[in-house]
Amino acid sequence: MYSFSYVKPGSVEEASGLLSNSEENKVISGGMTLLPTLKQRLARVENLIGLEKCGLEKITLEEGVLKIGAMATHDDVSISKLVKAENPAIAELASQIGDRQVRNRGTIGGSLANNDPSACYPAAVLALAGIIHTSKRYIKAKDFFVDLFETALEEDEIITAISLPKPEKAAYEKFPNPASRYAMVGVFVAKFEAETRVSVTGAGEGGVFRCREIESALSNQFLPESLSDIDIPAEGMISDIHAEADYRAHLTVEMAKRAVAKSLAR
C-alpha cells in the first residue's frame, strides 16, 4: 500500500469539504472494496476520509418511509427490527452479502457508491424506486446507476442515506458465485399497488437494469407460473468464465420465479 493520511471529520459538511480539496482524496466507509484496491496499489490516495464519525449509521422511519443511513453495515440492516418490519426483503438481502466479516464492516452507502455490477443492493434500490440522499441533493435510483462502477455522484458528493418505499410484496434471490458469494445473477422483485418492478444485478453488461419482459409478465398475474414461458435475450448479458450470457439470461428468469414464490410465502 502506498502511504496516505487518514482523517476522521466530524460531519458530512467537513467531509465533503475535504473531498473537494483534492482529487487525490477519497472517502472510505466499510473499506471492503477500497482497502483491497489500495493494498494492491491499484489506487493511490493522499487523504483517506473516514466517515465513521459523521453519524450516518442510523436507521429510521421518516414520514412513514424507511431511511437507512449510508454507514449502516449489512449486519446492522439484516438485524434491524425496523427493516424487518418495514421491508423484510432488504434485511434478507443484507444477510446474504459476502461473509459475516464483510457484513460486519461493509455498508449500504459503500456498496451503492461503488456500483459493482455484481453487488446486491443496487437491485433492491432500483426495484423499490429508492431515493439516494447525498451531501448536496437527492437522486432517484433510476438516475443514480449510470454504468459499471459509475454513478451520478459528483467528485465531491457523499451518500448520506437511502430511502426505500414499502412494497406490498418483495423478495430477492441470487445465484451466488460458489467461491466468493457475489451475485452471478440477482433478481429483486417488488410488487406495488400500481406497478410491479423487477431489477437484475450481476448479469447486465451495463450494471443493474430493470427487466421489462419479466415486469409485464408479472403485472398480469404476480405468480411464478407467469414466467414459465418467458425467454429473455442473452444480448447485453455478461459472459465470463463463470457463466455465459445465455446462461445468465436463463438464470435471470429462474431467480425471478424463485423471488416471486418467496415473496408470496412471506
Binding site: F4, P36, R100, Q101, R105, S180
Partner: protein
C-alpha cells in the same frame, strides 16, 4: 516485516484483550500488522491478505472482522479481542476446549480465525443448526480438516453453552 514508510502517523488508544494501549501508528498500517508486528501478538494469522481466508479474524467491539482489511487507525477507541485474549491462564476458553477435544484442527493455521468466528456465531444462538454453522463459516477457509470436526467442535461448544 512489511515496510511501512510514509510520514503520516496517528496516536491510537485502544483496548486489546483488556489491556489499554496507546501507540503511534502509520496511517496506512493494517490492523493485522499492528497486532503482529508492533504488539507481537502473532496468534492472529495472515493466510491470504485479500480478505478471503479468515485466518486474521479478530473481534472489534464484539464483532468479528478480518484484520487484514481494516486499518489500525480505524480501530482507535475500540475494544479488541484476539485469540490470545480467550484463555484464562491455563484454562482454555470453552470454544478452544471444544476444538481441542473434537480434533477441530490439524495444522492449526486457520484455527485462531475459526475460533473467533465461531464464538460470535453461537453468541445468543446456542441452538444453532449444523447448516447455520456451515453458513456462518463462509468467510473462513481450512485446507486440512474438511470442516467436519470444526463443525462438530462448534456444535459441542454451543451445546455446553446452552446448559
Amino acid at each position: 516485516m512489511k515496510f511501512y514508510g510514509g510520514k503520516s502517523v496517528t496516536d491510537v488508544a485502544l483496548t486489546i484483550n483488556n489491556k489499554k494501549h496507546i501507540q503511534n501508528v502509520p496511517d496506512h498500517m493494517l490492523l493485522v500488522d499492528f497486532l503482529r508486528e508492533t504488539l507481537k501478538l502473532t496468534g492472529t494469522h495472515i493466510g491470504c491478505d485479500t480478505s478471503q481466508c479468515g485466518a486474521c479474524v479478530i473481534h472489534v467491539n464484539g464483532k468479528s472482522i478480518k484484520s487484514c482489511t481494516m486499518l489500525a487507525v480505524q480501530a482507535d477507541g475500540c475494544e479488541i479481542t484476539t485469540i490470545e485474549g480467550l484463555a484464562d491462564g491455563d484454562i482454555l476458553h470453552p470454544m478452544q476446549q471444544a476444538f481441542h477435544e473434537n480434533h477441530g484442527l490439524q495444522c492449526g493455521f486457520c484455527t485462531p480465525g475459526m475460533i473467533m468466528t465461531a464464538i460470535e456465531l453461537i453468541e445468543g444462538n446456542t441452538d444453532i443448526t449444523e447448516q447455520q454453522i456451515r453458513h456462518g463459516l463462509e468467510g473462513n477457509l481450512c485446507r486440512c480438516t474438511g470442516y467436519q470436526n470444526i463443525v462438530k467442535s462448534i456444535q459441542e461448544a454451543a451445546r455446553i453453552e446452552h446448559h
